[in-house]
């Protein structure tokens, strides 16, 4: 019943217990006693395990035990998941000292690796038939693997495509290049469709070539970087730099051409006579009197320049109030052009700091007659 190992450990446990009692009584040392008690408990635990497992001995006269012994179990199949988990832990560690995104990538790999390894280990115990086990695994795993693989594949294609589009030197050449690509795709598709004798390997090869070309093109374009795109200054930038005079500044001319800009906006119009009028949704009448706008609200205004010279719209806000810049203006708008200006009135017109500057007034530098009072109740 007792194996050699069990006898050894039991003896050691008894010796340790005796030593503990002797030390505790004679030496009266607390720390030493604790250490010896710990050793006794550890040895007793090990002895118990060895007794329970019979020292992992398999006796020749116990065939059932032999058949069920761990040593007789089938070897697990080859698996890449331990390697993947190692890579995941390394990536996570790297992410901890570099970028959160790398850590997140490692964490995803870790969770996926654990899940796949567990699944593989489980399926290998399903039966003695390896092919059946593989089928069991696939049936369960494909429900997650296929959508994820499809999403990753689609993401790679879209990302590569976008890199190529952004890498082409100009918008015009982008249109030309992709018109040609689309035409080629159409022609090849038509040929493939018309050719009933085409084989699956040929189609696979075709897709493989197209995929490699796309991913390769994306990689090259990505490494080369995006084409130069001009970053337009905003009205907030002009306000910050105090560039609201007659000097030339540039902003995105298309910013006001959005759906939001074309409907539901208040218009401030510099008419050919050099006067500012306003037009609000609902009545579509040009009004010359004071314009009333709500307070503490981003009022989107469209400035329309109907004169023959480049002009900008300027308004002075509260000079001493922390909630708003002292002055805000639109970009310089070409004759006939339209541009956004978003104004947020932090304080009402009757606030002392506003009455001191003569109230809120839209003005146009260089056009003295352009003056429009804004009432903020």
């Amino acid at each position: 019943m007792f194996t050699t190992g069990a006898k050894l450990l039991l003896g050691a446990t008894v010796a340790s217990l005796a030593g503990t009692v002797a030390y505790g009584v004679l030496a009266e040392g607390t720390m030493g006693t604790i250490g010896l008690v710990s050793a006794t408990v550890a040895l007793a635990t090990l002895a118990g395990i060895v007794i329970f497992t019979r020292d992992a001995n398999v006796f020749a006269d116990e065939p059932d035990t032999f058949d069920g012994a761990a040593a007789n179990a089938a070897r697990p199949g080859a698996s890449m998941w331990p390697f993947a988990l190692g890579l995941a832990v390394t990536t996570m560690t790297l992410g901890l000292v570099t970028y959160p995104a790398i850590f997140i990538l490692g964490a995803i790999l870790f969770v996926a690796g654990i899940a796949e390894w567990i699944l593989q280990a489980w399926s290998e115990r399903a039966s003695a038939d390896a092919s059946h086990n593989a089928e069991v695994r696939s049936r369960l795993a494909y429900t997650a693997e296929m959508p994820v693989a499809a999403a990753i594949g689609l993401g790679i294609v879209i990302y590569s495509f976008s890199r190529v589009m952004l890498g082409v030197p100009s918008k015009t050449s982008t249109i030309v290049a992709f018109s040609i690509v689309a035409t080629i795709v159409l022609i090849v598709g038509a040929i493939v469709g018309a050719n009933r004798s085409i084989t699956a390997p040929k189609i696979t090869a075709l897709f493989a070539v197209a995929g490699v070309a796309l991913i390769g093109g994306g990689a090259v374009s990505g490494l080369n970087g995006e084409r130069h795109m001009h970053e337009y200054e905003t009205t907030a930038y002009f306000a910050e730099k105090d560039e609201c005079g007659a000097e030339k500044t540039y902003a995105d001319k298309h910013a006001s051409q959005t759906v939001a800009g074309k409907a539901g906006s208040v218009e401030v119009i510099l008419n050919p006579d050099g006067r500012l009028v306003h037009r609000k949704p609902g009545d579509e009448v040009d009004r010359v009197g004071a314009m009333q706008l709500p307070r503490s609200n981003p009022n989107n205004l469209l400035f329309r320049n109907e004169t023959n010279e480049d002009r900008r719209l300027v308004i002075d806000l509260a000079p001493d109030y922390e909630g708003s810049p002292p002055r805000i203006c639109s970009m310089l708008v070409e004759p006939g052009g339209v541009q956004w200006l978003t104004v947020n009135f932090a304080v009402p017109s009757f606030a002392p700091e506003i009455t001191e500057i003569g109230g809120y007034r839209f003005q146009v530098p260089g056009v003295d007659s352009a003056d429009l009072e804004v009432v903020v109740p």
């Binding site: 409907a263 539901g264 609000k280 609200n297 978003t342």
Partner: protein, 442 residues
């Protein structure tokens, strides 16, 4: 279960299933007899709900020109939809009952019936076209605002509506010239006051999230979107109060974002206008209201504006008086708080959620005949009629009264600004003073 398939029919055999089916059919007749009764009870409950008289937001009781147009359209549309619904469900019921499986042989199976298919395409197309023509006409008519007589700006925010009346180029407001004072923008909240028989253009936007303005008895609904200006026509010939509520989910107290439109006869509207433009008068010195004014300046004026209020505390020199200007954008996420200049001229407060009038006094106004409505409304809130209980509860702890995101410490995404009125920890004495002061604001 055991069974075999004969073409598309499955014939079930076997004692177990037969017993089960017998057991079910043994119970079913009794249950079946109950079904018509239950259906009739549910149908009657739904039908009777249409007879509700206390339904201030009933689209079937139009009181305005545009609401009437919608009403005139929805009748034939609902009628058509009802007839189609009854026909479809009736035919479905007949088919289910008459041709249910009774063990008969399978009828002859054919594919396609061109005449039926053409009819089933043509009939819905004709019905949809017949509905579309007047619908498009009404949609265009509702958008027509060329003959506007009065412009009022509406701004939505969590969870109340602000109204500001535009001063026209000729110095009038809604075509009415102030009798004594000079015309100036009027800012109010909760209750929109408009003159009867006047085509009012609401020009609306929002300070925070999308809201939707809807007074069902006067017009359809219109979304109010930050950064955009949408407009809506309101008009009514009949003086009275017309209730509505926000119809675009806008956060925690969306259900408490209500509004009322008050329609007044022209002479009553003139009185209301003159009253709104009257200069500010301070409470008599030494009174509870005077103490309330001081409390208001220290506790409330950071966010709430009272036009003309000056801070003359600590000085006898009129030149040192400081005009009190609120700065709600520093404390409230939406950047605004209701203007309380003439609070007691309104019937409701806190986004028209609570009544400023007691139940009895409220009924006197809300249920008044059109001929006397204006006088009763303009009387405002008197000391006897003040719903002091709810106003006091509100001042004591407003977030407990109306759900709001009022704990600034929990609102990191709003930079510590509250959504709605915060808890101010006012003492009972301060509340007494404030009520006395606010009672004079009309």
């Amino acid at each position: 279960m055991n069974g075999h398939t004969n073409h598309d029919r499955t014939i079930w055999v076997g004692s177990h299933d037969a017993h089960t089916l017998d057991a079910v059919s043994a119970v079913n007749p009794r249950r079946r007899r109950r079904i018509p009764g239950i259906a009739a009870a549910v149908g009657a409950a739904i039908a009777l709900s249409a007879c509700a008289t206390d339904a201030p937001q009933d689209t079937w009781q139009p009181a305005g020109e545009n609401a009437q147009k919608i009403h005139d359209l929805q009748w034939p549309v609902f009628l058509t939809a009802g007839i189609v619904g009854v026909l479809v469900f009736g035919l479905l019921a007949v088919t289910v009952l008459r041709f249910r499986d009774k063990g008969q042989s399978m009828p002859e199976q054919t594919h396609g019936k061109p005449v039926i298919e053409y009819l089933f395409i043509a009939i819905p197309a004709v019905i949809l076209a017949a509905i579309a023509i007047p619908t498009v006409g009404v949609v265009m008519a509702l958008a027509d605002t060329d003959d506007t007589e009065c412009v009022i700006n509406v701004t939505g925010q969590q969870w109340w509506w602000e109204y500001d009346y535009e001063v026209e180029d000729d110095g009038t407001i809604c075509g009415f010239a102030p009798t004594a004072a000079e015309a100036a923008p009027i800012v109010t909240s909760g209750q929109l006051v408009i003159p009867a028989d006047t085509k009012v253009l609401l020009r609306g936007t929002s300070r925070d999230v999308i809201h939707s303005y809807w007074i069902p008895r006067l017009n359809g609904k219109r979304d109010m979107v930050p950064g955009r200006v949408h407009y809506l026509r309101l008009s009514s010939e009949t003086p009275g109060i017309y209730a509505g509520q926000c119809t675009e989910f806008c956060g925690l107290s969306h259900a408490n974002m209500r509004m009322e439109t008050i329609v007044l006869e022209p002479d009553h509207f003139q009185q209301w206008l003159d009253n709104e433009l009257e200069p500010y008068t301070s409470p008599e010195e030494g009174t509870l209201a005077a103490a309330g004014e001081s409390t208001f300046i220290t506790q409330c004026s950071r966010c709430h504006q009272v036009n003309g209020l000056v801070d003359d505390r600590g000085t006898d020199d009129p030149d040192d008086d400081t005009l009190v200007v609120s700065y709600p954008d520093q404390f409230v996420y939406s950047g605004a708080a209701p203007n309380l200049t003439n609070l007691m001229g309104r019937n409701t407060f806190a986004g028209a959620t609570f009544d400023l009038l007691t139940d009895e006094c409220r009924a006197d106004v809300w249920e008044a005949d059109p001929e006397v409505f204006g006088e009763r409304y303009l009387a405002g809130v008197t000391e006897d009629c003040l719903n002091e209980i709810e106003l006091r509860e509100w001042l004591r702890n407003s977030p407990a009264k109306k759900p709001m995101y009022a704990d600034a410490e929990m609102l990191t995404e709003t930079d510590g600004k509250t959504r709605g009125m915060p808890y101010l920890a006012l003492s009972e004495d301060q509340i007494d003073e404030l009520i006395a002061y606010l009672l004079e604001r009309k």
